[in-house]
């Protein structure tokens, strides 16, 4: 459709002749992360999204598992970061039309769909939405509520501008209505806009178009789309969310009543080899169901939740505990059963589900509401996208990648991140985004920084000697503030306040022209402090701080008064009182502003070398990637040889020849001129901070000091040595890794065995190790398939708890079942029993297990028994964590900075992690994460210096009594004692200080203070909250 509307002209939306470094396709969390990392590395990025706003699916989620963090709260600051980054050019409502050329030199044609809004004029005030007469289902709320034909996609949208739906707009359809044109004070509406063709040139492309939720209408077997109280997982996210259709109350669509009995059906559209279904496992649904159950119970403790499930696939970090947390809630039933939907009860619109249990047989039960845990599909129109980009798809219609590099597509120079490479969760999407960045950076290292922009500001005027001269700018925000608060009277009032020398009102203080007026007023009227009374500092403070710099004064002389979110919007019916409150808020801000101090954001030089601890596949991949991006790397390995645990792995499920891969990568590592390999080396001391670490390493007797700017921890994991099931007592009992070695050697005893039994979850998913080792199910299937290949007659039994062959591994599980590998499920309270018995003169290894289908114990005589031994963290992690001051989780793996959005970062800046040091994972995922760590590390190494915030703590030594109160609470280790002629005093290490100010409130003498939030500044605001006291503080 768009094609016909396009006129011949070529649009020019950027100022540098449309040349960039990288185009990122898709503005979900993966695309956002990819863009931010690349921009930080010094590449110019085009971030292209077909939606009216960036954010993707994550913006629609209520919370994220397993921490139940609010999804939008953690994602939306990244929107702002993208929109403010000088190296990122966001193109929303834009689609890729064609890609020509080759790696390093792509010519891309984009189509910008008409929004019918002039982007740079719209301020997002939503007055047009208010007046638009056409109600349309709100897509953001999964069509469960209504919005207007002219609207902003969702309230935190970036860009925060409206768009008009051409399908429903009365003007665009019938030339009937143009109310919006009349009410828009900024003349931002253009109903004659046409699609625009834009050509850009880039060196590399990152594909992050994400996924689509499986459409349960397709098969029509669950009543979705027909029965109003059958919703899908994404619908339920919106229902849970406070910005959702029912304002965060759980109601059901048919009658708005609070459902008390809710059923979740898992694997809808996944693990189904039937027409219209997907044969793979969507990997995220088991855990998102659990999240939704927990949240539903949070909303309403009375809710009875029933989860119909197959295997529970809690294979991720902390997922097992999350599952237990869900299962332990009152009123929860987990029922392992296939189900079919019964019928809708005409009067109540309740829905019945038929299922079966071993004890009671087939049952039919009525529910108030049913949630279908739909899986992940490739994006709509994926074939079209693939053909435009010239990339291949795999058999599931996701992007084809190779196991040795999960971020490479079939076309050089085009990389993939996020769920387009296969169903993954948010952390995986973020890691692979950083990984794709590392590969872009390898490809384009030669041009890094060439197109990057940095803002240039006039020199800063020193105003420290001057009396405060405050300018107050009060914003109408279209009608958002002005309609409730009497803005002119606030301006008038501001003039009467101490130190205020200028006050004015603006329709939109944030608009480019208004910001310019502030900068001019600073210069012309000699302002040395600025107060903007408008919206929230959480979104707009960076903008106005910039404005102050443009006006030539220190950015920390800026202060906000939030009279929109905290006043006009929440007191919209009380105009008079709201106006009084706005005046109070302005007075408080003015009082505080008078005491603000100029702060210096300081620059720290960066040592452009990296240290990587651990020479397994993850460590080597990171090392090679950093070196290929042009950075010198030290790779430290405590063993004699590189390779880590991969030296014992021969095959992967997908058929990768691990030893060949390993040999190749070890060769590359040794041959790379920028990589220094230090084997048989341990770390004895580590100090310093981001950009400037100093680490002492010991090789034999030799000790050397390495200076580096970043550290990557890739210390790997080990295999648990079982103490159960006769391991170590009977030579027919192996671990899976040992079994693999036997298979590779074609050991007759193993290969010619008549029967082989595997027991899963040995040493984990128990009290001692309350986690799933993630790789063992895949490994068991790998071994089983290999053995069936070598000896098709062999009887193979896999005794398991849940088969966790998530994602595409599901195919191999199915293949094993087809090849007659027998799967027998056991419960943890009824574990299999292994005995060595003597029968008829033979030593028999006998495994007894309850077969849940037969409902009785069966005995299996095994020639070989293989134990899926847990993956465990190495004991040395305890030392590493102390040396580098990074935390371990309760299971002994390293704890990343943020489970969802900083999966390869540590909270300590400049230290990263990857591979099984993070959590057990298959080789392919380790490689992806290793590229991710290299990508993140490169964002630091590619800079000459890094900027640290000015709002940090500082010690007034004359007041310090060296009591240590501050040091004891600063977990960042940012405060230390040092000797002065006046004795021991505390001092702040500025780079480590995060500016929370806890030390400030602990200091008994007021010696340490958090700059920008000092006692005096806060006292001034406290006092000014009372009108009569305002005068006192001058």
């Amino acid at each position: 459709m768009a094609e016909e509307l396009i006129e011949g002209q070529v649009g020019n939306s950027s100022d540098e002749g449309n040349v960039g470094d990288v185009m990122v396709v898709g503005g979900g969390i993966s695309g956002i992360q990819a863009s931010l990392d690349l921009a930080e590395m010094g590449f110019k990025v085009y971030l292209v999204d077909k939606s009216p706003a960036i954010g993707g699916k994550m913006a629609q989620l209520d919370k994220t598992f397993p921490t139940n963090d609010c999804s939008l709260c953690i994602e939306s600051p990244k929107f702002i970061e993208c929109s403010r980054h000088p190296n990122i050019n966001i193109l929303t409502y834009t689609e890729v039309d064609s890609v020509e050329g080759e790696a390093g030199d792509f010519k891309v044609t984009l189509i910008r769909k008409p929004r019918y809004i002039v982007e740079d004029k719209c301020r997002g005030c939503t007055t047009c939405t208010e007046y638009c007469p056409v109600r349309v289902p709100d897509k953001y709320n999964q069509n469960l509520s209504y919005s207007k034909c002219t609207h902003i996609y969702f309230s935190q949208s970036v860009p925060l501008i409206t768009y008009i739906d051409p399908e429903t707009c009365l003007f665009l359809k019938e030339r009937k209505c143009n109310i919006c044109i009349g009410v828009c004070k900024n003349k931002a509406i253009d109903l004659h806009q046409k699609a625009e063709r834009v050509e850009i040139e880039v060196g590399a492309i990152v594909l992050a178009p994400g996924y689509e939720a499986f459409d349960a209408r397709v098969r029509g077997d669950y009543g979705y789309g027909k029965m109003p109280n059958v919703v899908n997982g994404l619908d339920f996210e919106r229902i849970l969310c406070s910005t959702g259709p029912y304002e965060g109350e759980i109601r059901r669509p048919s009658d708005g009543k609070h459902p008390k009995k809710i059923a979740w059906i898992s694997c809808v559209g996944s693990r189904q080899v039937i027409p219209g279904g997907n044969s793979y496992c969507s990997a995220v649904c088991c855990t998102y169901i659990q999240k939704q159950v927990i949240l539903a119970k949070d909303h309403d403790a009375e809710i009875e939740a029933t989860i119909f499930h197959n295997d529970i696939r809690s294979f991720g970090k902390d997922f097992e505990r999350f599952y237990q947390r869900t299962a332990n809630l009152p009123g929860i039933r987990f029922i392992r059963s296939y189900v079919s939907l019964g019928r809708e009860i005409p009067e109540s619109k309740n829905v019945t589900i038929r299922y079966s249990t071993p004890d009671e047989g087939v049952k039919e039960e009525e529910f108030d509401m049913v949630v279908l845990a739909v899986g992940l599909n490739p994006p709509d129109d994926v074939e079209k996208l693939a053909s435009k980009l010239g990339i291949e798809l795999d058999s599931h219609r996701f992007c084809k990648t190779n196991p040795g590099n999960p971020v490479e597509t079939s076309r050089p120079g085009i990389f993939v991140s996020g769920a387009f490479g296969g169903p993954v969760d948010i952390p995986e999407s973020v890691m692979t985004a950083s990984g794709a960045d590392a590969l872009c950076s390898q490809l384009l290292a030669y041009r890094r920084g060439k197109l990057a922009k940095a803002r240039v500001y006039p020199p800063e005027r020193d105003v420290t000697g001057e009396e405060p001269r405050i300018g107050v700018f009060v914003c109408h925000c279209g009608a958002n503030i002005g309609r409730v608060v009497d803005v002119p009277s606030v301006v008038e009032y501001a003039y009467t306040l101490p130190n205020v020398v200028h006050a004015q009102e603006d329709l939109f203080t944030c608009s480019t022209d208004a910001a310019q007026r502030i900068a001019e007023a600073i210069k012309e009227k000699g302002l040395n402090r600025v107060v903007v009374a408008a919206c929230t500092p959480r979104t707009h403070e960076p903008l106005f701080r910039d404005t102050l710099r443009e006006g030539g004064i220190n950015p920390y002389y800026f202060e906000f008064a939030n009279i929109r979110e905290h006043c006009s919007w929440v007191h919209s019916r009380e105009k008079e009182v709201a106006t009084r409150k706005a005046k109070d808020l302005v007075r408080m801000s003015v009082a505080r502003a008078a005491l603000l101090q100029p702060l210096q954001e300081f620059q720290l030089p960066v040592d452009k070398r990296g240290l990587i601890v651990g020479g397994g596949i993850a460590g080597m991949t990171s090392a090679l990637s950093l070196a290929n991006q042009g950075f010198e790397v030290y790779l430290v390995e405590r063993d004699k040889e590189l390779g880590g645990i991969a030296r014992r792995i021969h095959y992967t499920l997908e058929g990768m020849d691990v030893q060949a891969y390993l040999k190749n990568i070890i060769r590359k590592v040794y041959q790379h001129p920028l990589i220094h390999v230090l084997t048989e080396t341990t770390i004895s001391e580590a100090s310093g901070y981001v950009g400037n670490f100093v680490t002492r390493v010991k090789s034999g007797e030799k000790v050397r000091e390495i200076r580096h700017g970043v550290t990557i921890i890739a210390t790997g994991a080990e295999e648990y040595k079982p103490t159960e099931y006769l391991y170590g007592q009977d030579d027919r009992v192996f671990t899976l890794l040992e079994l693999e070695e036997q298979i590779v050697k074609k050991e007759a005893k193993v290969v010619n065995a008549r029967s082989l039994v595997m027991i899963q979850c040995v040493g984990c998913r128990n009290e001692e190790r309350n986690y799933c080792s993630r790789v063992c199910c895949n490994n068991a299937i790998t071994c089983a398939l290999k053995l069936k290949e070598l000896n098709p007659q062999m009887d193979i039994y896999i005794i398991y708890r849940d088969m966790r062959t998530y994602g595409f591994a599901e195919e191999y599980y199915r293949e094993a079942a087809n090849r007659e590998v027998r799967f027998i499920r056991y419960e943890p309270e009824d574990k299999p029993v292994v005995e060595a018995v003597r029968e008829g003169g033979e030593h028999i290894l006998r495994v007894t297990v309850t077969d849940p289908i037969l409902g009785k114990k069966i005995a299996l005589d095994a020639d070989v028994l293989a134990l899926a031994a847990a993956v465990i963290p190495p004991a040395t992690n305890a030392e590493i964590c102390k040396l580098f001051k990074v935390p371990l989780n309760p299971d002994g793996f390293f704890q990343e900075a943020h489970v969802k959005l900083r999966p390869v970062d540590f909270a300590a800046d400049g230290v990263f992690l990857c591979g099984t040091a993070h959590y057990p994972k298959p080789i392919t995922e380790s490689i992806g994460q290793a590229y991710g760590a290299a990508g993140r590390a490169a964002t630091i190494l590619s800079k000459d210096s890094i900027t640290a915030s000015g709002a940090i703590c500082d010690v007034d030594e004359s007041k310090c009594i060296a009591c240590g109160a501050c040091i004891s609470v600063c977990k960042y280790g940012a405060i230390e004692f040092y000797e002065t002629p006046q004795g021991k005093k505390a001092r702040v290490i500025p780079v480590l200080c995060k500016g929370d100010g806890l030390c400030n409130s602990k200091c008994p003498t007021g010696a340490i203070s958090l700059k920008h939030f000092t006692d005096e500044q806060i006292f001034a605001a406290i006092d000014a909250a009372v009108p009569a006291l305002a005068e006192v503080h001058r």
Partner: protein
């Protein structure tokens, strides 16, 4: 006529959760009473005891502290745990000097809980209306209240030391904090370590105005003369005050 008491409320909100929650209340247009004035801090752990006392001393009828839910602090320092201790301690202090501790309220509000913020504001305003204006409802005159809060403010550095030495605890839930600060032993510690100091601090403030006799002091502070003698003796021993024979009154040393 038709005059209704409108409590003045001051709020200290952490940037990452509660302030963001208040922003979301705005974005979602949840209406709540106009009484609160908000001051943003980076972490609820930055909320100093002296902030709260100063707000009351300025005549605020209520003080609100809002932070991230336990376990969700933006910082690894977990300052919200310190905020909860400070608030519990301050409530004891307020109770001790005769101010209704319900005037101080701490709540956790996540960035996604706009509606919760609005509900809390509505509820807190309602409660404060029931409690009534500061001082008058407690039966303390403005001057007396200011005096007591002033004395408490001078004690803040000392209380910080006591908190660190004797009352620094770390629990995972609000209930555990509540249970701990409700314990008799904590009350005893408070009486022994803080209440006595507070009385001495009040006496010092009084003596700085004019010399007073034991009887006069006990009248002003509403304490028994034997208690006052005890405090005067210990203060004299510490060299804080002395007895002026000529005036037959105590004066600062």
């Amino acid at each position: 006529m038709g005059y209704e008491f409108e409590p003045k409320i001051l709020g200290f909100l952490c940037n990452w959760c509660c302030y963001a929650g208040a922003d979301l209340a705005g974005v979602s247009r949840y209406q709540y009473p106009t009484n609160i004035r908000i001051i943003r801090v980076m972490c609820s752990g930055r909320v100093d005891l002296s902030f709260i006392l100063r707000a009351f001393s300025n005549g605020m009828d209520g003080v609100f502290v809002g932070g991230c839910w336990l376990g969700e602090c933006h910082y690894i320092t977990e300052g919200n745990h310190d905020a909860i201790s400070v608030v519990h301690l301050c409530k004891k202090l307020l109770g001790h000097i005769g101010v209704n501790p319900e005037r101080l309220r701490l709540e956790w509000v996540s960035a996604s809980q706009g509606i919760r913020f609005a509900e809390i504001m509505t509820d807190f305003t309602k409660k404060l209306k029931e409690i009534g204006p500061l001082g008058i409802s407690e039966g303390i005159d403005e001057k007396g209240l200011k005096f007591k809060l002033e004395a408490a403010k001078t004690l803040v550095p000392y209380i910080k030391l006591v908190e660190r030495e004797r009352l620094r605890v770390h629990f995972n839930t609000d209930e555990e904090y509540k249970e701990f600060f409700g314990r008799e032993e904590v009350d005893r510690l408070f009486r022994e370590l803080i209440a006595d100091k507070l009385a001495i601090s009040e006496i010092m403030l009084l003596l700085r105005e004019r010399p007073l006799s034991t009887g006069e002091i006990s009248e002003v502070l509403g304490l028994s003369s034997s208690q006052v003698s005890k405090y005067l003796n210990s203060s004299a021993r510490q060299g804080l005050i002395r007895f002026d024979e000529s005036q037959k009154r105590f004066v600062p040393a």
